[in-house]
């Protein structure tokens, strides 16, 4: 009897463990099913409205986007405003939390095309330059024209040319120097001046571990490509690696002068924290993070930004329309709205990003807040060489 009782206890313990484990399983699945869940959320009101006595059934298209919470907040604000003005179009937002599924979304569009299944129900997709180029080669994106989206005319024509009119750059941010203007009166304006400043002010400059965030990675990449030809930053040819030696030597040498004689905080936020508590006076940082945190008071009001020449890495985030989408008309209508000064104003306010359209189309106070930082950045497009840089940085600069 006692044995049996023991057995029962063991059994119930097992049942408990397995149910807990099962719980874990569903949690892990959450990230994947998130997309489905949010699409279900979004489709619910749509189906309601379609059953309502309204005469025309609105066209509903799916918009896949990824990013941090602020990106989601922005679309959650913009879409209702758009739908109010355009009763005939509904936008189904599908949010893929960053780091979980941006690549699969691209793969889905590609797979759907290869299987002859149209665009895989993805009618609008947001991503960075690398996937715009990649999709251009795979012939995935629709060519956008001024006739269908008049507001494209407000975008810098060169930017559109860069992506062969395959994508709309709807917002941008760049890596800049952020500094405490109380301590630094004349910020450096070139990379050489920056190096000099770092050497003259030991332990007062920090850039974050390039394996953990774009701000540090941009400083490293910019340094490595400093003496290379201008077009090198668009090359994905591995042969260029032998020209990196000079840059790495500089970075290695700078290690003695940066914060903590060679401490590179983790994540973009790591260096911002150091700037906030005054341990350093100058860092590299994403412009949108600096603007947002200065506005919220997390960074002191004396924080200022400056872009150097030639500039750090930066660039737009793009919206692409899959070529095989069946709801292009509705998507064009939405894109036209997104590129209107009104919607761009919301993007600037919510994301602290640079507007996608030219600044001259924006209100004066927005133009002022971006003075000196919204231009001059460069868009690096070096593909997988990025990985090689971080790898070499880790073994040569971090572990020197």
């Amino acid at each position: 009897m006692i044995q049996l009782k023991k057995g029962l206890t063991v059994l119930s313990a097992l049942a408990l463990t397995s149910s807990i484990l099962a719980g874990c399983g569903t949690k892990a699945d959450n990230a994947n099913s998130n997309a489905n869940a949010s699409s279900a959320d979004a489709s619910a009101p749509a189906s309601e409205s379609s059953t309502s006595p309204a005469s025309d059934k609105p066209v509903e298209f799916s918009f896949y986007f990824t990013g941090s919470q602020n990106v989601k907040d922005m679309w959650d604000t913009l879409v209702p405003k758009f739908e109010e003005q355009n009763k005939d179009v509904k936008v189904k937002l599908v949010y893929i939390p960053s780091g979980t599924g941006a690549q699969p979304t691209y793969d889905r569009i590609l797979a759907a095309k290869q299987a002859g299944k149209g665009s895989g129900d993805i009618d609008l997709y947001e991503d960075s330059l690398s996937n715009v180029t990649k999709g251009g080669k795979d012939d995935l994106w629709d060519t956008l024209s001024l006739d269908s989206i008049p507001n494209i005319g407000k975008i810098n024509p060169k930017t559109m040319e860069n992506v062969s009119n395959l994508a709309v750059p709807y917002r941008a941010s760049a890596v800049v120097l952020a500094y405490n203007s109380d301590k630094v009166t004349t910020p450096p304006s070139t990379l050489d001046e920056l190096y000099e400043w770092i050497r003259n002010n030991p332990e007062k400059f920090a850039y974050n571990d390039p394996t953990t965030g774009g701000a540090g990675s941009s400083f490293v990449t910019t340094s490595i490509y400093k003496d290379l030809p201008d077009e090198a930053i668009y090359s994905t040819d591995p042969a260029i690696q032998k020209d990196w030696d000079n840059g790495f030597a500089t970075l290695k040498d700078l290690g003695k002068y940066v914060y903590g004689k060679g401490i590179y905080p983790k994540k973009n936020q790591g260096t911002l924290d150091l700037l906030a508590n005054g341990e350093v006076d100058m860092i590299t940082a994403w412009s949108d993070m600096v603007l947002e945190q200065t506005a919220k008071g997390q960074l002191p009001a004396t924080t200022k930004m400056k872009q150097i020449t030639p500039g750090f890495n930066g660039g737009p985030t793009y919206l692409m329309v899959p070529k095989l989408s069946e709801k292009k008309e509705a998507v064009y209508q939405f894109l036209d709205y997104v590129m209107s000064p009104e919607a761009q104003g919301v993007i600037v306010e919510k994301m602290h990003g640079f507007p996608g359209i030219e600044l001259s189309n924006m209100p004066q106070e927005i133009q002022d807040s971006f003075k000196g930082v919204s231009e001059g950045f460069r868009s690096f497009n070096i593909g997988d060489l990025d990985k090689e840089i971080t790898k070499r940085w880790q073994s040569e600069v971090a572990a020197q």
Partner: protein
């Protein structure tokens, strides 16, 4: 069917679910990552990924660093927790009551929050350094250094270890201690010949827990550790997530598993010895 055979069957049935669970969530992943780790860059199978672990200078210093941090953390955690447990078991008074009521608090604070708390407390411009500056002492670098990782490990591990050990010490009957004293044993002798041997097994369990917890830790080493050398957990994440070399990451993971299984072996051996001694 005889009764003993019935009991045997029941035993087997009871064991199967846990065995299956173990098989699916432990054995298969380990086997898979072992196979993965044998794959070399050309796609064939050899030990080159392991060779890299020991020949690459940075990787070798990562391993040495991890072992150093782990051993130091284990020693300090065990010494502090054991002293705390002994103190709570054999002393009384308001201070002991207070300790008894509060020592578990760190368990209920999420790791990331605790780590950021430590950064704010011990950082170069943290509270502690500001206080120390008033009396003219400059705090050495703790955050972004191995000291930071060790302190974080103490914070995470001491409460649970102390809890384990004090429950073991509570199991020692007072009568045994009193009779030893009656026959003239001194305090040290009571401790080394009665208290420690009777709690030795739990001590081993605690050591195993701390060792495995520390060697595989990620949050604290990632946030407060130096950029290089790294703890193996941080390095694994970097190799897997940033460099995207799955096979190399698998090799690091399997190596970490081997390190843990060495300790596991001693633990199991002492358990088995104990079982055979009992029957």
């Amino acid at each position: 069917m005889s009764k003993s055979m019935k009991m045997g069957m029941l035993g087997l049935i009871l064991v199967i679910p846990s065995f299956l669970l173990l098989f699916v969530i432990v054995v298969i992943p380990i086997a898979l990552s072992f196979v993965e780790s044998l794959r070399n860059e050309a796609g064939g199978f050899d030990l080159s990924r392991y060779q890299f672990l020991f020949t690459d200078k940075a990787m070798r210093s990562n391993i040495i660093f991890t072992l150093k941090v782990t051993v130091v953390s284990c020693l300090i955690v065990l010494i502090v927790s054991y002293s705390l447990a002994v103190y709570m078991r054999f002393s009384s008074g308001r201070l002991v009551d207070l300790i008894r009521k509060t020592y578990m608090i760190p368990i209920f604070i999420p790791g990331v929050i605790a780590t950021y708390g430590l950064i704010n407390l011990l950082g170069n411009h943290g509270w502690l350094s500001r206080f120390l500056l008033l009396i003219g002492i400059t705090l050495p670098r703790i955050i972004f250094d191995e000291k930071g990782i060790i302190i974080a490990n103490l914070w995470f591990n001491i409460p649970f270890t102390a809890m384990l050990l004090s429950s073991a010490l509570a199991g020692i009957p007072n009568s045994v201690l009193e009779s030893a004293k009656d026959v003239g044993a001194g305090r040290l002798r009571v401790f080394f010949q009665i208290v420690f041997p009777l709690s030795y097994k739990t001590f081993l369990v605690a050591a195993t827990f701390v060792f495995m917890g520390v060697i595989g830790s990620f949050t604290a080493p990632f946030l407060v550790g130096p950029n290089a050398p790294q703890m193996l957990g941080v390095s694994m994440e970097q190799v897997f997530g940033v460099f995207q070399e799955r096979e190399q990451a698998a090799a690091i993971a399997f190596f970490t598993f081997l390190l843990c299984s060495v300790l596991g072996y001693f633990y199991i051996r002492s358990m088995v010895k104990d079982e055979t001694a009992r029957s």
